[in-house]
Amino acid sequence: MSNVHVNTRVRSEVDTSGNLTFGYSGRLDAATVGTLWRQTAEVLRSAAPKRVSVLADEIAYCDGSGVGLLFWLRLRGRRDGFSVEFKGLREDLAARLEMFDVEAFAAAGQGRRNHFSLPDKVGHYIWGFLEDVGEHLAFVGELFTATVKCLVRPGQLRWKDVFLTAERAGANAVGIVALLGFLFGLIMAFSSAMPLRRFGADVYVADLAAIALVRVIGPFITAVILAGRSGSAYAAELGTMKINDEIDALTTMGLEPVRFLVVPKVLATMLVTPLLTVIANLFGLIGSGIVILSIGFPLVTYISHVKSAVDVDVLLIGVVLKGIVFGGLVAGAGCLRGLQTQTGASAVGISTTRAVVSGIILVVMAEGLFAVLLHFLGI
């Protein structure tokens, strides 16, 4: 009550026949109305009146919040079945009060949107998921068709965008891929060297590091970095274009957004991912090599173990095939989420988050499929 103006108050009086009188005085503004509102509500609750009279002749100042309080008394009267009469209300205040229609407000209060129940929400979610799967499939089809068209007629492809994307997603990512590859190699070799030493098998750290890096970790960390750097960037770029109606502009000009915007990004990413994977592997091997050297093995031993552990099949599948597939998945997910962007300021943020999450999930699923496939192929 500390912020109520010293002269601002509400008096109330109730008689035996259910007549309640409120007398407001002082300033009725945004700072004072909160307290007056609570006091008035409390009196109304305990008195349950049949008629309410409001003495308004001592109101010195009344802004929109004050009018809100007076109007609320009218609304309560309609809801709880008591009449409200204003006495001594200045003409201008009365006019401002009359600007609001009690019936319209009561109707608007009832007409609010329904909130969903739990089964509704579950159904909504499942339907949304199925729709999303459908959109993914449609997008894959559209992307495949557009890519084939572009490959058949290379003139249709926007090569400038391909090279620009290759530079942004590939060349600009070399540093971070190399650093993370190096650190992963270092950490993995160090973590495995100590337990293996207990069995006298520490020389096999080289084999372990080489196989793990080339088969799984190299392609995987490259794909995760791409999802975080480039997948999100594609989603943000296309999402902003969607919000600015640029995608619609392309469509109305007769240009397919997928061919024009998505194919260059996906192709460029598929092209640079194997190269980035090579860099991740190379630096990972350097990292693990440092650990091997530090535990006392010569470089030549390390190199011969790595060469014997990684054959050409593993290298081709681990680097080239996985790189191409992961690059396609990350770029495709980024572009799809960008094209699915809704409206509003938060929409682009949501799209970029979904792009990264989808990209990583797809890469993990593909990694699992590769593991099973390679097992059955005996590679």
Binding site: N3, D29, A30, A31, V33, G34, T35, W37, R38, A41, D63, G64, S65, V67, G68, L69, F71, W72, L75, D92, A95, R96, M99, F100, A104, F105, A107, A108, G111, R112, R113, Q342, T343, G344, A345, S346, A347
Partner: protein
């Protein structure tokens, strides 16, 4: 004209610009309490920049802006807070918060700056929406509404704490003539019934004649005010080529359409 005595805004010898580029030089004028002042001028003449200086978003290169006697640039945090409680601003695009419903947008200031119970804040916000013709739209998200509705909701948000001054940046740009006329009528009625002061940036000739008590015209070439007066005085002004060009060429093109 519903003006009362005494200026509520004083702009004194303000020079404004971005980095090295000076856009406005030696701008001085006053706005009286309850007055509807319209700032006009060709594109790029610095109307919105001047508005940003008046609401304290930009500091002038020279001069000062006083709101109800307080210097908005030199003000410490407490004074600035007091000044900001006296003003409401509607930005050109509406600038509604996209993640909140209209009701949440409008009641935000009530929640943050007053101790009103939930029911009170809801009702007062709904009443403001009703004032701008948006009764029943409280639960809508801004993205679900048309541009005109968003602008009207932005006005409701700007005036939820009953500020003494409302600054409106191009309120009728991009609106159809009917919605635009409705908005003009709303501004006029708020000025007359609540005694609010308005500073409006616009280049809609019809709106200028519908709402303005006084017009200030800025000119890009000389970077300052070229003329000031009632809309009628500006229209009838014959000795100023910039004013003539602005008020007559537009008027002529409207007639010929």
């Amino acid at each position: 004209m519903s003006t009362q005595a005494g200026p509520i805004i004083q702009v004194e010898h303000v020079a404004a610009g971005y980095h090295e580029t000076v856009i406005l030089e030696d701008i001085s004028f006053q706005v009286a309490k309850g007055e509807v002042l319209v700032i006009v001028g060709s594109s790029g003449c610095g109307k919105s920049t001047l508005l940003k200086h008046m609401i304290g978003l930009m500091a002038p290169l020279k001069g000062k802006v006083l709101i109800d006697g307080d210097d908005i640039v030199a003000a410490d945090a407490e004074v600035k807070h007091r000044i900001l409680r006296k003003i409401g601003v509607m930005f050109q695009t509406g600038a509604l918060f996209g993640s909140m419903t209209l009701l949440e947008n409008v009641r935000l200031a009530l929640d943050e700056f007053t101790d009103m119970p939930h029911e009170a804040a809801d009702l007062i916000a709904l009443m403001k929406l009703d004032l701008v013709g948006l009764n029943g739209y409280g639960e809508y998200m801004p993205a679900e509404l048309s541009g005109g509705m968003q602008k009207r909701a932005a006005i409701a948000r700007a005036m939820v704490l009953d500020p003494q001054i409302l600054f409106l940046d191009e309120p009728s740009a991009g609106l159809d003539p009917v919605t635009s006329a409705g908005l003009d009528a709303l501004i006029r009625s708020l000025a007359e019934t609540l005694g609010m002061t308005f500073v409006i940036v616009t280049h809609e000739l019809a709106s200028i004649f519908a709402v303005a008590d006084r017009v200030i015209m800025l000119e890009k070439e000389i970077k300052t005010i070229v003329a000031t007066g009632t809309p009628q005085e500006m229209r009838d002004c014959t000795d100023n080529p910039w004013v003539q060009r602005f008020f007559h060429r537009q008027a002529e093109s409207r007639v010929t359409h």
